[in-house]
């Protein structure tokens, strides 16, 4: 008797592609549905002016969400970004109104301050083993408190410095400068996450910290560094907001951290670490901005926007954990046992 050996066939490449990119494809689909829905429901929605307005409003969220994607990929979280934005916002306004330094140096100093704050929190998380949730919850309170204390709760006006105000109000070729900054940071984040050794370390640490350490990767340093990224990104966002409004306030960016985390999670990044894309985060941030803008254009109460945004986040996480795990397959559901 002869024995027949056959090789197992390769599965369809399209099915592989779909299951590999299910997260990004689903948020992309949802984003398109939102855009179409609001275009039909509100005539002012699909106009160049309004679209640029959405992008400008989404810019600070997107900048921080890119960094937050790195943090959440390491299975961490940074709840303090809103307070960091407020602190940078306030300190920048105080420094500029006091005329301590020329404005470009103030910008650099704020970026350095953001990095320092992030590194400080990252040290507690990575080297002292305190859960990121606790460290950054404390940071949320402490940093907002500093901002309030420094400003005594007042809004600090920024003097007329055309160079600095350009950061928030300027345009290059009709595109608002904050949009250019945020897109550039998103592109940079994409390249770093998927193409560099550092990005590989971030994913490996989030996927299996002990395996990364055993493979000789500096796992702790990597974890500390991602909080530095959110610190720097929060500084950028704080400067964008300060330059746009022409003032610094300790009450800036209240609830900002929730919008940022919502954008990242909506984009399919797993809270358990190891899995996430910047493209998904970009689509998540834009979806949240589009929903907020669209509902206002439909003359729906702004209070209702919060309810809708929260509901969408809940549904997104539900899909994320229930459907896109091992039991999900394209092309027909598996029978329940």
């Amino acid at each position: 008797m002869s024995v027949q050996y056959t090789e197992r066939g390769q599965g369809s490449a399209i099915a592989d592609f779909l299951s590999e990119h299910a997260q990004v494809l689903s948020i992309a689909g949802f984003f398109i549905v939102c855009v179409v829905f609001f275009s039909v429901m509100a005539s002012a929605f699909l106009t160049p002016v309004n679209l640029l307005n959405i992008l400008r409003q989404a810019a600070p969220i997107l900048v921080v969400a890119v960094a937050m994607t790195f943090v959440i990929i390491t299975a961490g979280i940074d709840l303090s970004v809103g307070s960091q934005v407020a602190l940078i916002n306030a300190v920048a306004a105080i420094a500029l109104s006091g005329g301590w330094l020329p404005w470009p140096f103030v910008v650099l100093a704020m970026l350095a301050l953001g990095a320092l704050i992030g590194l400080f929190q990252g040290w507690f998380v990575a080297y002292q083993g305190i859960p990121a949730f606790i460290v950054t919850l404390a940071g949320l309170s402490i940093l907002r408190g500093f901002a309030l204390y420094l400003t005594q709760g007042y809004s600090i006006p920024i003097p007329d410095l055309p160079g600095f105000l350009f950061i928030g109000r300027g345009q290059i070729g009709g595109i608002p400068f904050p949009v250019i900054v945020s897109v550039a940071i998103a592109v940079l984040g994409t390249v770093v996450l998927s193409r560099t050794v550092y990005g590989r370390r971030v994913v490996a640490t989030g996927s299996n910290t002990e395996a990364a350490r055993r493979a000789g990767m500096p796992a702790r340093g990597t974890i500390a560094s991602v909080y530095m990224l959110t610190g720097i990104a929060s500084a950028v966002a704080g400067l964008l907001i300060a330059a746009r409004l022409g003032s610094g306030s300790s009450n800036a960016a209240v609830g900002f951290e929730l919008q940022v985390i919502a954008a990242v999670v909506l984009g399919g990044t797993s809270l358990f670490g190891g899995r996430g894309t910047i493209l998904g985060t970009l689509l998540g941030a834009l979806t949240i901005a589009v929903i907020g803008n669209g509902l206002i254009l439909m003359h729906i109460s702004p209070f209702f926007t919060q309810i809708v945004t929260g509901t969408i986040i809940l549904i997104a996480i539900w899909l994320n954990t229930r459907i896109f795990t091992a039991n999900f397959r394209f092309g027909g559901k598996r029978r329940k046992g």
Binding site: E20, T196, R200, V203, S207, E210, A211, A212, R214, G216
Partner: protein
């Protein structure tokens, strides 16, 4: 101490001299452990262990569960830092503060839990911690070519190198962990239960691999519960019991029955 065999004598408090030590005289051991102690809280995982492994030699490390085999190998690979004792590589005393130090000395280990990153693809896991990079950008083309060569070398069949490891079978995952440890010119290779999830043909491939590496002068330490495998690749067997090395036997001078007796603490009878 009931584990004391007829050849042995108590060397110190808690330390037991192994019986029937067989070492090649005149050669410097590739790796040499002396008086290794390690405690986890109140539990003394290792109570003064000596072990020498020579180049081109395979030492089988056997013992009951919780005998200290994995702890000992994790100390050699730098994963744990011992409380006391010395490690020497090629006669030079070393101190491993973390796994990167051991890796820099070409000490590689296949961990029992495999230590793979599920969300990273096959070639990413093969090159984990030593990515090929130009200006810190990953050189995926080079890694892909070399990953394919690494797997072909070991007769490992994995169709898609860019599939994430979480999608692979237990055997394929184990094969990747072995390929990763064996392919970067190791000088000491430690394998903790490398064949537990493997099929017959793959076990044969791993045993062949061990013999190939031995021929190249690699010192191999093999932990396994499949005692019959030891007789195919090992030169010596070290038996652990309750955190000490109770016996060391040349493979030619022992038998499966003797090893079983040594493992379960009935070594006095032989």
């Amino acid at each position: 101490m009931s584990t004391q065999s007829q050849h042995g004598a108590i060397a110190g408090p808690g330390g037991v001299m192994p019986s029937g030590s067989e070492s090649a005289p005149g050669m410097t051991p590739r790796i040499s452990l002396r008086g290794i102690r390690m405690s986890f809280g109140s539990i003394e995982a290792l109570r003064g262990v000596d072990l020498d492994v020579y180049p081109g030699e395979c030492v089988g490390l056997i013992g009951d569960n919780a005998a200290g085999k994995s702890t000992l190998t994790k100390i050699i690979s730098g994963t744990y830092v011992p409380d006391a004792g010395t490690i020497a590589v090629d006669g030079e005393e070393v101190r491993f503060a973390n796994p990167a130090d051991a890796r820099a000395r070409h000490i590689e280990m296949v961990f029992q839990d495999l230590s793979l990153c599920d969300h990273i693809d096959v070639m990413g896991n093969l090159f984990l911690g030593r990515e090929v990079a130009r200006w810190s950008f990953l050189d995926r083309a080079t890694m892909k070519t070399r990953a394919r060569a690494m797997l072909d070398d070991l007769d490992i069949r994995i169709p898609r190198l860019n599939a994430r490891v979480e999608k692979l079978s237990g055997g394929q995952r184990q094969a990747i962990a072995i390929a990763r440890a064996a392919s970067f010119d190791p000088r000491v290779l430690i394998m903790d239960e490398p064949t537990s999830a493997l099929a017959v043909a793959e076990v044969e491939a791993v045993l062949r691999l061990i013999n190939t590496l031995k021929a190249r002068g690699v010192a191999v330490i093999l932990i396994t519960h499949r005692l019959q495998d030891l007789f195919e690749v090992c030169d010596r067997i070290a038996v652990m019991y309750e955190g000490t090395k109770v016996a060391e036997r040349a493979i030619a001078k022992t038998s499966l029955e003797d090893l079983v007796k040594l493992i379960v603490g009935k070594g006095e009878a032989i």
